[in-house]
Amino acid sequence: MSETSEKTKTAQRPHEPTRHAKIMRGIVTPIFGLLAVCFIVFGVLNATIWKPSRHIEASAHVQKTQYIMVDSGVLGSVDKDVTVSVLPSNTQADVCMAVGTQKDAAGWVEGHPYVRVTGLDSWTQLSTVDQQAHGTASPSGNDVEFGDSDMWREHVCTVGQARLSLKDMVNTPLVALIDLGATDPASTVTMEWDRQQVPDFAMPFYFAAGLCAILAVLCASVFALEPARRRKAMGLDGMDDDASTFQKIRHVVHGDDDEVSVGEAVAGTFKTVGRSLKRKPRDPAKGHRRHAKAEKPSSPAIVDPSNRNMVADAAAAATVGATSVVNAMDGAEVPEEETAVISPDELQAYFARLAREEHVELPEAPTGELAPVSVNEPHDELDQYDQHDAASGVQDAADDANTESDGVEDGNAEDNSVAEGNSTEADNDADDTADNDNADGDNTADDNTADDSTAADSVEDDSAADGTTAELSADGDNGAADDNVGDDNADIAQADEHDQQEPDEDASTEEGTQQDESDGPTEAEQATSQDEKSTSEHDEEQAEREEEDER
């Protein structure tokens, strides 16, 4: 039950988007999406409305010159086909236009000034240069008319506007020569091209739009994942054995103990959006505990040894401070290497030891005073772990000390008081583990040691939650261990659900109490590990409490 609730709560965790995911999905992805849309719009505009025009028409107005020469290279500058036209101001004038080599045209205009068309000033204006006469004109009786010369490749002579369509004018040394006649001419020269290839300004925009779209998709999915999840989503294991302790803390604190695929991440995005729109009456992420029981666990119980350690660490941190956490962390690494699962026997031993410790009077009252501080703290953290049913069960039993029926709680209280003094000794987790294993068989009767410690009742409630810490201090159990044996047996009958677990704990507790002071450190070690167990047991106890409340 408590286990179910834990699983439920854990299963709800993936739907809770982290801040990083919120930023990526809520801000960055829309930005990229907007950019992609903008680029596509610009691309379409550049391909349609803003498309460079195919027809280019450039002209120049020329005055007071008989000859106009279009430089070589200008004819084919925009496109290989060009149409040159000349419109004289006097529409009745004879105009001749011819195409020939540069030297031929230069020979013809020798001794005459002329105007050169040198290129394009803009897409609609031709640039012209006035050229002085060079050489001397030597007319002879054999001179022919402009249009009759053998030198021109093509020529046209008309009255009024003369047009000449030329083909393949690229990379030719040809020039165009226009003869306007000798009578004070003024004219307009126009050159028209039809571009076969216009510059493509749309493709870069399309390319940028594609890039932004890809980035948007990536931001919404892969980049929004936690680095650990992303590594997992990419096939890497985020939590190797070599993962640093800080990563593990973060891993636990952020609660990403589930592997999330990219598809689930994207689905999670839409779920987040949908959820904000629908305003569900109940936020599953914050499901109350009383509803938790109705929900079945979404996945099989995943036993993560690190979680167990983290529970103990959290409890230790609550009572002692950072050092205990550190110690707990150190201790967390060891059990991972040796054990992967908390066996029921271990829990039994723990409960046994717990029960035994409950009956220990408070030689370490000071530590017991600290117990209340940490009583309530582990609760929230304990909720995260599915596997700590046993511990929660133990804790519940301890909490139920008020109900008289549970001596386990008393035992826990005493254990807490004793354990607090020994909480600093949690360094010996390895030994504790070994001891706990050994004590499993002996702790069946130790669960209900709480019955012996009526004096501890007052502390029981406070220390119930501290059952973990209480368990750490097994020294105080020395005297109570023996007394608690019988009580443990009685309590076992009462705490049916946790029989398997509590006896284990008590057994371990009993061992810790039975041992002399010489074994104190060892017991403390045991107690430490057992206290770590009791963290989960605490959850179990809480679940038990709830169930018992319902009964």
């Binding site: 610009f42 505009l45 020979g107 053998d150 030719t172």
Partner: protein, 342 residues
Amino acid sequence: MNGAMKRTMTRLAAVGAVLAMGISLAACEGELPKTTQASTDTQAIPDLTVEQEDAMRTKLMTVIERINDSKNLVNLAQAMTGPELQIRTSEIEIAEKTNNLDPKTKIPTDITQTVIPTDNGWPRSVFTITKTTDDQQSKRLLVFTQDSARTNYKLWGVARLFQGVKLPKFAIPTIGAQNGTQDDSGLLMTPKEAVQRYADVLQNGDKSAYAGEFADDYFRQELGQLQQTVQQGMERNKGTQNQTFTPVDGELRVMRSADGGDLVVAQINSEWTRQAGEGRESQPASESEKALFGDGKPTSTMKVTYVNVVALYIPPKSSAEGAERVVTAMGAERQPIKVEAL
């Protein structure tokens, strides 16, 4: 209300700014093209394309044909110049008298080769070799000349190529060859010298000092034979005869061949003076002379003026030794233009 108005105005301003920015981006035509001078400017460009040469030649032939048919010499100067003008004028005059145009005036319309110069200046000459005529006459070497930029090409000279003669190689018309000058160096002799020496050889025959520099050719042989025949007749009548060959200054056209030699076409005038002895009359020696002489009164001395056009190939100095180191006559033309009874 003011807040709403302000928001609306702000939105309108934003839309306007976006539109303005968008329109300013609108309709970029691209970069203006830069006109670069064609790289072919540095290369020599043929003065005429093959099509242009064909058009020019066809136009000229048409005019000449018309004049041939009409026997009207008024417009002949528009199509011909130089020695050919004189020759054709004589030919047409003779044709008028005899009602029969000399067959050698035939110029086929099809050509085997044309050599086009790449000269930038004027005068320019184009050499064209026609095919054989319909009646199996030899090929003609046509020389067209453009004297200035504002004039057109004219037929300057025609030389009938000798049978079996091997012309030098020239660059193809799309690449273009080059006109030479009368003082071209690097040759066996300059074109001017070649023409002068050849005239001497024509005049003196084998007794010429330069006889060894010229290969034996059909023209020399023919002339020699003619002279011999006339000489025999003159000796029977106790007459004398004399023929002098004189090259005409400036009437010389050179085209450089691909192997470094020169093909020279030149005009050589000759005067043939025949004196009949013993008080006899000196009569025209041929039909042509007779036609030219017309109704003139023969005397004891007759002077006939000929225009000869010869085509000589001068090899380069570095050519192979031996038989190659002679100037070879490729073709010739001979036409009496004036017959006088002195």
